[in-house]
């Protein structure tokens, strides 16, 4: 058999029926993650067709997008402030109960952002197909799974059949060699990749991140990289599993154990792309040359090294519109620009290592006067771990606002928003117009850059503070 890529191996193993010129493949889905925002319409569709959820054992629901992050709302001491969000939360509770789907509800100790909790549980594993009605499902590709976001109609298809109709995407190798320098993180790496290939450079493709620069990353860093594959237009990004993957998974609640574990590792080891596997496209990235990155415009591809100046829009009307929205001009330095809000969290950067990175900068320092630093752990488990490790104390002493887990200010559905015209330095994944609130101006960067900028009240190179 011809040499196969990781993607091809996982795809082939899940073909119930292969594609033909006239029909898409029927692709089997091993794990379906469900949240409150994109599922109500899918459950309604099942109800109207009188269909059950076919494999509740392969379905896991949580609530994250519209949930509150203040303890008094989460634990019911006061009502959820956003009425429509409260309704969505109740709707998911009702749907999960009616259809027999496992739900980590608002007060569950296992709740959190869907892309944080599934890896944490050991539910996201190598070689699986994983889908969710959320584009950042690409995160789970860090385990060597084929994981991608779907719309609500497809959520209904998976609930009803455990399968999806899919055309086979093309493959795109992102070869990263070398090690990231000190002060440069996985977030900077993926921002540099997006800057290089553009926000639609990956359309129609699945990325495989390869090379020594990827092998050197820990699992949480790999998740950050895979998470933002969609920001380059790729539905999925994958990394072949290795000992780092196995060490992360071993002993987690839903990972195989005992003899099953040994057998699983043996299978997972075979997933790596064969030598000579062909990719439709490829790009080479030198990790040693990556610097702390920051966005200056209104999509993640509008990104520069933090020490660079804003590129001139050169008469490009779209670039001018973006700079106008941001209140920036071509040629200005990014360093030193004021920030009003700093958000550390999200499915991109809301894990323990992200909080540890922020804490290295915030320890013994204070948030600048007038700056709101909001730190939202990716899950209740991350919250407990951060509290046990003393990180929460460091944050609170520095003057940060420390919350319960959720998507929060990444997309501002729950009322955690940035006011119009304000600058938000955010560790999330999208700097689209209005993403964090109508008129809000978002700058994407790493947790290190976020923490350093919160301390100085202006865009700051974190390497100056390490």
């Amino acid at each position: 058999m011809a040499a196969s890529s990781l993607f091809e191996k996982v795809w082939r193993a899940h073909e119930v029926l292969p594609e033909s010129a006239d029909t898409p493949a029927v692709l089997y889905i091993d794990l379906h993650l469900v949240h409150e925002v994109t599922s109500p319409q899918a459950f309604s569709a099942l109800r109207s067709l009188e269909l059950p959820v076919r494999r509740p054992d392969r379905t896991l629901a949580t609530m994250d997008h519209s949930t509150p992050t203040t303890s008094d709302q989460v634990f019911g001491r006061v009502p959820i402030r956003v009425d429509a969000a409260a309704k969505q939360v109740r709707q998911l509770e009702q749907n999960a109960a009616e259809f027999g789907v496992e739900l980590f509800a608002l007060q569950d100790a296992r709740r959190g952002i869907v892309h944080v909790i599934s890896p944490e549980l050991g539910a996201s594993r190598p070689g699986m197909t994983i889908v969710c009605g959320d584009s950042h499902t690409s995160t789970h590709g860090a385990f060597g799974a084929l994981a991608f976001g779907i719309g609500s109609t497809e959520v209904g298809h998976v609930l009803a059949t455990q399968c999806l109709l899919q055309r086979k995407p093309k493959t795109f190798a992102i070869n990263v060699e070398g090690r990231l320098p000190a002060g440069v993180t996985a977030k900077d790496l993926i921002l540099a990749i997006i800057g290089r290939i553009g926000v639609s450079g990956g359309t129609g493709h699945v990325f495989e991140y390869r090379g020594s620069g990827v092998r050197a990353l820990c699992m949480e860093e790999r998740m950050t990289v895979c998470n933002m594959s969609i920001e380059a237009g790729a539905r999925a990004g994958m990394i072949a599993p290795d000992q780092i993957t196995f060490d992360y998974l071993e002993g987690r609640p839903r990972a195989p154990a005992g003899r099953d574990w040994d057998a699983a590792v043996e299978r997972w080891t075979l997933l790596e792309s064969d030598a000579g596997a062909a990719f439709d496209r490829s790009v080479d990235i030198d990790a040693c040359a990556v610097e702390p990155m920051i966005t200056y415009g209104t999509n993640p591809g509008m990104v520069v090294p933090i020490t660079a100046a804003i590129p001139d829009s050169a008469g490009d009307a779209v670039a001018e519109k973006a700079l106008g929205y941001m209140g920036f001009h071509g040629g200005e330095a990014m360093l030193g620009k004021p920030v009003n809000t700093v958000f550390i969290g999200s499915c991109t950067n809301g894990r323990l290592t992200d909080l540890q990175a922020a804490a290295t900068v915030l320890k013994g320092r204070k948030v600048a006067a007038g700056v709101h630093l909001l730190i939202v752990p990716g899950s209740q488990q991350v919250k407990r771990d951060a509290e046990a490790a003393g990180l929460a104390d460091i944050f609170k002493t520095a003057g940060a606002d420390w919350r319960e887990s959720g998507c929060s200010m990444c997309l501002g559905m729950n009322g955690d928003t940035v006011a119009a015209g304000q600058y938000s330095l955010s560790t999330s994944n999208r700097n689209f117009e209005g993403r964090q609130g109508a008129g809000a101006r978002t700058l994407l960067a790493s947790p290190l850059t976020a923490a350093a900028s919160a301390v100085r009240g202006q865009i700051t190179d974190p390497r100056e503070m390490l």
Binding site: A13, V16, L17, D22, T23, P24, V26, Y28, D30, V37, T38, P40, Q41, A45, L49, H65, S66, V82, A84, K87, Q88, R125, P126, G127, G133, D134, S135, T137, G149, I150, G151, S152, T153, E154, H157, A160, T161, Q162, C163, L165, R167, V199, S200, T203, G233, R235, W268, N299, G301, V318, K321, L411, G412, M413, A420, R430, F432, E433, A438, G439
Partner: protein, 193 residues
């Protein structure tokens, strides 16, 4: 689903690249639990001023845009989130086809499942369309072609299966459920990773 064969309409032109789903329908409107009524919030932050009044400068608010069912936009339309609320909002507003040089993957899939036609064209055709707002065009799904008022007609790529389903009003879930015997057979044999 109703069979769909053709969309004939004047175009409304949004001359921007990378129009993301957060612009099409901002996240704060995703707290709905139904598919209906999202048209009012389509392009909300561009269509309305902060005080809620319509922004007269925005293309959809101009008198000539009224009733247009074909939206022409710059490259990479629909990038960003997987929210199906984006095609729901466009359809609810009255848009039935979107033309661009490139349409993001998830948006395209969501659009096709709801009867919103994603039409990708080359740079030349796109440049002509962007320069001629209000052009009367025909999107013919039967022949997978786009006709301009100049008499030029070009083919466009559309997944054969999605096209077949739209033309005949076939529900894809019904088709997929028809494969349940194969799915069960797969499950019996498949041990998984």
């Amino acid at each position: 689903m109703q069979p769909l064969r053709m969309v004939r309409s004047k175009t409304v032109v949004l001359p921007l690249t990378n129009v993301d789903t957060d612009q099409i329908i901002p996240a704060r409107f995703l707290t709905t639990t139904t598919r209906e009524g999202l048209g009012r919030q389509l392009f909300s932050d561009w269509r309305y001023r902060a005080d809620g009044t319509p922004n007269a400068d925005f293309v959809l608010n101009r008198p000539e845009a009224k009733g247009c069912e074909v939206l022409v936009a710059g490259r990479n339309f629909g990038c960003g989130s997987s929210r199906e609320h984006a095609p729901w909002a466009l359809l609810d507003y009255g848009i039935r086809a979107v033309i661009s040089t490139e349409i993001a993957d998830i948006f395209r899939g969501n659009a096709l499942k709801n009867g919103l036609l994603p039409v990708t064209v080359d740079e030349n055709i796109a440049a002509w369309l962007l320069a001629h707002p209000g052009a009367a065009v025909t999107v013919d799904l039967e022949t997978a072609s786009l006709s301009l008022p100049t008499g030029v007609s070009v083919g466009f790529q559309i997944d054969a299966f999605a096209r077949h389903c739209l033309l005949h009003g076939i529900d894809q879930l019904g088709y997929l459920r028809g494969k349940l015997p194969e799915i069960e057979r797969y499950e019996a044999m498949h041990t998984g990773f």
